[in-house]
Symmetry: C2
Subunit: 376 residues, 2 copies
């Protein structure tokens, strides 16, 4: 990585993953580090917001107020959610889609974000979580008269999005929500017990809660294409796998401040600290290298496909153009949203710097708050 | 106006403006109204954000942090300012400009907003205000080594913008800042004494503090044209006059909650309450009619020019295309910025509803907080 932090430390040592264990990372490393230096991440892929991003975000906020208001405890909670600007994630990852589809995608991502928050706040029991989530996925798209706002909002999305999908994609749409929510339920016992998985096991599980099945589908929907037949091929599995892991690792890195605050063990920072016996900064540096590795591996896997017989197909080219922007847009969005740096955060253009884990409202700063760390 | 509030009250009675008087509006109308119904304003003109609006806002925030940080009392004040999203005003009013010019315009509007806030917080003495403002306008564009951040930031803008201006426009650039800041100083004694002007006098003064000279110039800069020779013609004066008055009145309406809180008399709501003896809601309704009148008068004046001999000139057509978007974008931006509805406001898509003057964080709501007013 050209933009390694000043110490120039390298993470060449990559030990085997440890089996499932039950000790949270704080217990491993004596004095707790309360800030870290976020290196400049490589920008291997293009990022751009949709040309109508501002309008789409506002309209998507209106959709949340209309359909999902009752998912929030009160108006303050709703406004706090809107301040996170989740309505801009769709425009960040679908800059090439037409405005209507980009708006549908924005609403869909708000929908799963609201659901994610609702589950995170409620589910501590795996069976309880599975029952609640099964009700949502069973009703998804079919039950417009249900009393649950999540089910009614899901029906609205279904009505708008399915006409733009092939029959195979419609089937994937329903399954995608079930697999993502099932992935959430799978994480509950680990999270509840403070279990820390090995990196490979962790990532294999995390792919589902990240929602890759619906992320892939929304990417196709935005591009107006159907990759159903190609996803199971080894070449696509490789490219998709590197893409989703890059995005998960970026999310884990930039959301660590928030997830650390709730002692969440389902995050690559915790996984690396524990499985490699690293301190916070070393785990962050190792994670940055992994992010670069996954990004470069995605590029290689993508180029292999585009250089082969499939490379002449316009739908395949459009798919990877869209995935490029999905990866680049996801990374850019993480520097913009107040979701991870604290309510009240406003993007100041910083993409590198010292990040405090304890300040209520964090920023990326040129200097650490603890001067003793400035030697780094 | 097709979207008149439910009562259907009409504001056909337009008495003569009163001469300068010294009684603030609260004293005129017994029980003070603490909320009003904001009708849907007509959308006579197109609005669109620049296709790179999100990126431009973030880069412009970075520019503020780099150049103007010391204008804020502390980091909290800076972050509160950034949360107002003033960096999006440029993209709101220059959607047709190329990305670099739209970014220059965004930075320029942040510059004058920061200056406006600094002056509003400091100037209670007209002579003191004139001295401080003269220093800024004298140094504007020339003094890169000055210790004042406002002067150094001004030099940065000058360096970037003047290469895209004609010599005549360069002269106007410097004068525009002086006339706007002079307009601010002119308002100081009225504001300080709680004076309320007649509507025509008020608007004549307000045009300068609104910054019409630099707004017109930035509009030309965004379009890459020079209207210097045409602005003094009666036809352009008419079109420009209606355009700026429409924008001032929209700003006065949407900012009344904030300006009322500091008992600001330099606002059309206060002017209408006082000069026409109206209560708050009637003044708001009258103001909405004025906004529509000015918008329609702009359209007529513009069409007169475009239908005449100048209408074949591409630069004239480009100018009015840009002014159309300036008016439409200014109106749209007012529903988005937290500047007027309170720190923490997030746009929820509402453009009409009940607005409280007393809630720390306001929203446009479907019902008044005081049920007794629901009969309206």
């Amino acid at each position: 990585m050209t933009s390694a932090p000043p110490s120039g430390r390298q993470d060449t040592d990559r030990p085997q993953e440890l089996p499932l264990v039950g000790t949270p990372p704080q217990a491993v490393h004596g004095a707790q580090e309360t800030e870290f230096f976020l290196p400049e991440l490589p920008r291997l892929l293009p990022s751009a917001y949709h040309p109508n991003a501002v309008e789409i975000e506002v309209r998507s906020n209106a959709w949340v107020c209309r359909h999902l208001q009752s998912c929030f405890s009160d108006e303050q909670a709703l406004m706090s959610y809107l301040r996170q600007r989740a309505g801009l994630y769709g425009p960040a990852v679908s800059p090439l889609a037409d405005e209507q589809r980009a708006g549908d995608i924005a609403d869909f991502y708000q929908y799963v974000t609201v659901m994610d928050d609702a589950i995170a706040g409620a589910a501590t029991d795996e069976q309880q979580a599975r029952t609640a989530l099964a009700r949502i996925t069973d009703g998804f798209g079919t039950d417009t008269d249900d009393t649950s706002p999540l089910i009614r909002a899901g029906a609205d999305l279904w009505r708008r999005i399915t006409p733009g999908l092939s029959p195979a994609q419609v089937g994937r749409f329903k399954e995608s929500l079930a697999s993502s929510l099932g992935g959430y339920a799978d994480e509950v016992p680990h999270r509840h017990a403070g279990h820390i998985l090995g990196l490979d096991d962790y990532l294999a599980l995390r792919v589902f809660r990240f929602g890759w099945p619906f992320v892939a589908l929304m990417t196709e929907y935005g591009a107006g294409i159907d990759m159903t037949g190609l996803h199971p091929t080894p070449a696509f599995e490789a490219a998709n796998g590197h893409a989703v892991r890059q995005m998960i690792l970026v999310n884990d890195l930039l959301s660590w401040r928030k997830e650390h605050a709730r002692a969440d063990t389902m995050n690559a920072v915790a996984v690396l600290q524990h499985t490699r016996g690293l301190g916070l900064q070393d785990a962050v540096d190792a994670l940055c290298h992994l992010i670069e590795d996954e990004g470069r591996a995605y590029l290689a896997a993508r180029d292999l496909i585009l250089g082969g017989s499939l490379g002449t197909r316009p739908d395949v080219a459009a798919y990877f153009d869209a995935v490029d922007h999905l990866i680049g847009g996801t990374q850019a969005y993480h520097y913009l949203t107040p979701r991870y740096f604290g309510d009240g955060y406003a993007p100041d253009g910083s993409t590198s710097g010292w990040l405090s884990l304890t300040e209520p409202l964090a920023r990326l700063r040129p200097h650490p708050t603890d001067p003793a760390r400035a030697v780094r």
